[in-house]
Symmetry: D3
Subunit: 243 residues, 6 copies
């Protein structure tokens, strides 16, 4: 199949330039600025010595996430959710996804009765913000856990495996990896795939925008996602290997 | 593979008893009570001669959905969202899914500048409420459209294809179709699949609860979903064929 | 006095066809679908082993009610209160009335420190929803209490007497019983009367819509209400006598 | 019948000392401080040259009311509703009652397309605040209408008749008029009666607190209410006769 | 410098007629109606035997304030904050200022673990409401403290010094004291000054409305404020000296 | 006077290291990251071709500001305002201050009927965030105006003069400039001063935390503020001189 030209000039299976900047801010136990092309998300991990009511006294910890978008992270200014009086449906959907995804790589018993909150705030948006948030939040989470271990608050590492996420889609009939905003807007199908380092699926959220997608298209997208997530996990490892 | 015993005694690929009761209430243009086992959702379609601001003057219609759960639809009473002061994240996520799914089978130009709102209210919950809502809302939507056609308000049928949804999962290693609450709670993976009558995917939302799911598990679940949706669409057709 | 023709063709002192369907849903301790003509309200009674803060440690129970209307229970779709961000004044007024009315037949010391919440959700509205809610909720409440007695959680029956409610009005000079929506809209006076099986008044809420009502009109309405409530209480008894 | 001793030493059919102070504040078109014993309510009438959406273009005006209680109008401080994020059920119930009651004496066509809002704010509470609000708001309303007439904005007087309200109750078996807080708290039945100067009923809201009330008790209470309202209307007239 | 004519005819350094009416309402521990010209604010002090969570167990008390404006305190009716669903930014800013100001004259250890809430409700507004609120609330606070001492709940007087506030401004180049609404609206600079009886500054909030103000203008305004506050504190003393 | 040692080792009249990074994000018409020591605020200016209702048709523009703090900008995580359901009093107070301050240097007629919104989001907090926000927002505002001029949307430069803000305080008796968090927490007095490049005051907000401040202390603080603002304005000019 001859591949169509992507707006960014990338190959169909090519990720956007990626960077993971640890210790981006100074107060949080983990603080990572992830850039995927022009998408930039600040992911902080905050440790608190308490758990939500439904977990009290069970000896287990909790991992949760909140997502926000600065008003002018986008091309047109969007109204500030705090000023509007609450979080919208899209925000809630995304932060629930981030939380679920990261809980999938944590042994919550080993964490003990504490909560780690992952705040993912989009400073600049160019598509794929929820996937960038998951990929970056994983690194912030590991940093926060390492600090707990260094402080000897927990003994056993509660993290098993790595988690990253990427979007895939079908654009003008072509399966493509890691859509930017221009591509996303014109796409027939958009899927967010969260996977672990064993190639297992954590979350799969596919939406037909234009026409329904066929099983073979699904397979092609999943193959691209597998390749992309492998590269993202390699980048996470490299970032975490730095001092 | 020897199949495990399901709590309901159903075969792994067996749907729950299904019924679609049209004209369940008298005011709405479409009103369907769908029962999937003990899950009962009242789906009404309401036609209004206006569109949201972002569509005004574009000659296109809009399809949207709202989802609610009566406080005692569940085993334990849950707080009424109106009393709590707003819809929670789960509700918003579900109603966005229902709306997107049904928009995927409607030619909004043929609908003209009007809105059809699908209210899906769970009277009794036993798992799979969002899938039941989509399957039932489709029938209510068709009834509302038929009324518009009968009143000669629209000429061309804006509906193309049929849409239904079913949940699938991996329970104790076994891929199963149409999970009830008991099964859902103990499952490793839970996926909601929205498909059309051409076998195309409209929405795919899979979540690993216990462990990440493998590509072969995904294929097995998708195969079950395809079978289930085909049966649901046949039931929709049969219901709509009645006077 | 020659009576005017009612829109429904009923005699001035005639109730609408009534049905009380117990165990309409499966989870609640009491679950009753009441139909008064085209008005249909689902009344569930939920028992919880806690009381509001102002009653803690006093050895008394609490009876409270919540009221809701499905968006398309009405001729025109009304906005969902959960989506609008809270309950409106009419809803609050009605649910306070239901709660007060039912507390009037319960010995709260005999109930012990537990709360019974009566959720009254209107599936279809054709006038008189608050009265139907009270009449149906009484049956659901008795069912919930019986279950507590059967489970030997409470010893003494906390219910004394029966409670039912009906609307009366003056339409075109004619006192009439149990107004439906068409009648209610064109009425000069509308009164909701809650009574017990001893003929005592629990609540009386009369509103002059067109002109002020005279003492003799009040007496005529109260007489009709007495007759109607007696019939409703008989129907409650019959329903509760079934297994 | 030998009458019991009332906490205030009043005769069973005796109103509390009443005063109606017009032009209490300077900005409102009508501004009345009503004192009924220790209950003090500031009632202002504000004219605005607009109507709610449902009345636009119909040539009719609107009368509406809002009710509030200063946090320390009561014995114990109650939380400020603005700080709590909204009006409670009791507030909504009361302000709906005030609005309905006053609409019953206004020809809204003669008023023209304008709104008069009656703000009733309780400065000090000692029972009977909603009745005091109605009685005082009537005077504020007349003042605002007079100003419209003086400014020749309207020609025909839209006010027909006078409206006042009083509470009655059964305390220790004794029917009594105009309950103060001490009396109200210990009462078996509490009824608010809104009447016009022709002796017609506008609103009747009776609640059995302790035991259901009998028809003869109702008659006794209504007789007291008739006497009380006549005195209140005489006081309104006297106040309005002053320059 | 020849002084310009003020709208009120006052001299540049002249306060409006001031009155402080103690025991204006009967329930609050302190209740003061302050009138500064046509500005009238009811200030009540309520004592509660509890402190906010952040102070529990520390042996210290808390002083806080809430501010409100009756809807028709102003020339045009303003929407009721409780009906609008919350307090606006201006309200929050003002009540935070009142609270901070009064905490500056209270030894919170001597107060013990109790909270005094100062509710400042504007009955009629003509400029300078926040300053009037502070000046009046101080008197209400002292009355509440005296009652605690009289009841021997506290031993040591926790009040040190007196606090009052006044506005100053530059109007048409002329520094003026205690602006009313007409003056405030046309002013270049508006400053609220809270001072104690030692001539020290508690709060200083100046805003250039038209052009930036120069250091010499600031000095002139501060001199006027000092004179005004001294007179206000004298009036507080006189009021508190009455029985 | 021998100066006390500041926690940061700075001289009493020394600002923290300052940087102003323009074009920090790509979508906004102006986007500046200001760092004042460890305080980092992202200030974006967004131009919209509309004005608030109260300005429609008047030919004038509007400048407004919103302020936010990322949850983990602070030492302890603070709750996200969007999740809490609205902006708190401190946020509202600050964003009102920023808006007022910047309006003081803009000729709104020359701007025409358009709105510039300054979003100031604190990425990292170490005291002085509101002052940093004002100083940074000024640069973002100028960038947005320059773009409007470059696009020939406006002809006349609506900016007159420069605006910057700094905090000053009295710490252990010593007047100091530009307080960081450690210093601020232990300070007796804290004042935020907004000035223009002509040495005029735009806003002055001083609060006595410990004891009231004397006139001579006020003068010392104002002198420090004048020095600090002059340096900040020089830095703004240097940043704006870059391409």
């Amino acid at each position: 199949m001859t591949s169509i030209q992507r707006p960014s000039g990338r190959a169909p299976d090519q990720l956007r330039p990626l960077s993971l900047q640890r210790r981006y801010t100074c107060h949080a136990e983990g603080s990572v600025l992830i850039s995927c092309g022009d998408t930039r998300v600040l992911c902080t991990a905050s440790v608190e010595e308490k758990v939500p009511p439904f977990l009290r006294g069970k000896g287990e910890g909790w991992i949760t996430a909140e997502y926000g978008m600065l008003p002018r992270a986008t091309k047109e200014r969007t109204q500030r959710e705090a000023a509007r009086g609450g979080q919208g449906g899209r925000t809630m959907e995304i932060q629930r996804l981030i939380g679920r995804s990261l809980r999938a790589c944590v042994d919550r018993s080993a964490l003990g009765e504490r909560t780690i909150t992952l705040d993912c705030d989009v400073l600049q948006a160019d598509g794929g913000t929820r996937c960038a948030a998951i990929t970056g939040a994983y690194v912030a989470l590991v940093d926060a856990i390492r600090q707990l271990q260094a402080r000897r608050v927990i003994k056993k590492d509660p993290i098993f495996g790595a988690i990253a996420a990427v979007s895939v889609g079908i654009c003008k009939g072509q399966p493509v990896l890691d859509l930017d905003y221009a591509e996303d807007a014109g796409c027939d199908t958009d899927m967010n795939v969260v996977m672990n380092d064993g190639g297992g699926f954590i979350e799969l959220q596919g939406t037909a925008e234009g026409h329904a997608f066929r099983p073979d298209e699904l397979q092609a997208m999943l193959a691209l996602a597998g390749k992309g997530v492998a590269e993202l996990i390699a980048a996470q490892r490299a970032a975490l290997a730095e001092r």
